[in-house]
Symmetry: C2
Subunit: 212 residues, 2 copies
């Protein structure tokens, strides 16, 4: 992955005139900036003091919005996981053949990744060092399981080749999708559509080979 630079986080300091002599943040913006700092420095290595410094506000101003560093992590993980779970649920509700629902999930997941890049990056770097992280990893595994179920159904429908284990295929497919966070830079792209197309072309034709 290309190196990210420390100055990135501070570039997001609000440019509006400060409230009471210091920059003001709403909770959502505060969480977003903290997520970027976590991604640059590592969550464990980032103290509330460092966050205050990067935000340009006092620690007590942070505590006005959140009770702890973990609450910021929780908000960030909920953000990305809810989006990804919504993508899967909406695709499952389509009532189309599983292979079409799968294509929808892949395309929409790429969109979520590129749109919510810092949040998903944080999610993907978790190591399960706390109950909160372990719970988030369990939700990620459940998403992979639901995608594996769709792949298995599409295999049973004869739409996808059956000689690759559905669970392995799901992990590899999501691995390719997730790897986008390592190099995709929204500021250099007009839209995520070409990336999503390339992922779908590669994955679905790979999964379909036996049917061709």
């Amino acid at each position: 992955m290309p190196p990210q630079r420390r100055r990135q986080a501070s570039a997001h300091r609000p440019r509006t005139s400060p409230k009471r002599g210091r920059p003001g943040y709403d909770r959502e913006t505060l969480v977003r900036v903290c997520v970027e700092v976590f991604n640059l420095r590592g969550y464990e290595a980032t103290s509330m003091g460092v966050l205050a410094q990067e935000l340009g506000i006092s620690k007590s101003a942070i505590y006005h919005h959140v009770n702890s560093k973990e609450e910021i992590l929780d908000a960030a993980l909920t953000h990305s996981l809810s989006e990804l779970e919504r993508v899967v649920a909406e695709a499952e509700a389509l009532g189309t053949p599983a292979v079409v629902e799968l294509e929808t999930i892949i395309r929409e997941s790429v969109n979520v990744l590129t749109r919510s890049l810092p949040y998903v990056t944080l999610l993907l770097r978790l190591r399960g060092n706390s109950e909160l992280e372990t719970a988030a990893l369990a939700r990620r595994r459940e998403i992979t399981r639901r995608i594996a179920a769709l792949i298995a159904q599409a295999q049973a429908d004869g739409d996808l080749r059956s000689d690759i284990d559905a669970r392995t295929a799901s992990r590899l497919a999501m691995g390719m999708v997730n790897s986008i966070v390592d190099w995709y830079r929204p500021e250099r792209a007009d839209s995520s559509a070409p990336v999503a197309d390339a992922v779908i072309d590669l994955l679905l034709s790979g999964l379909r080979r036996a049917a061709n």
Copy 2:
């Protein structure tokens, strides 16, 4: 990725009888255990004191082998990067069509990942927070560039479809390969061959579609 547990690192304490009242490590084993601790806790968040605690030796015993925490990181990154670069160089030297060299790189990269899992995991989690990390990321980008060149050559040869940008295809392919570190557990697998087969089946048939 599944949660890893803190006890993992200490499970690697040497079981041989201690030298002078404390466990003895050679440099290679010391680096390997440190790499596992870095992967569990994050490199930045791990102090020499924590490493000493996990190794069950004193800080001065660590300094007998290395001058700094960064020297341990350097040794670990050199380990994984040299292996991956060797894979690419050996494939490029085959003198076979580019598509065959590409298949060799994918298969051998999976083997390196599964064989040197902790080292590659550490490499893939770098954020470029120091000159050392930036240099490692540059070496990773160079590997991706050489693979993109092989994909472009295989496209020119008519062996791979030409409607996916070679650079994007290279990033996505290596993204899929690298994602294996998030779920592959050597202790649960007889060998990495089935995973390598699945990756090659998915990627090469995906890349080949237009030629089928």
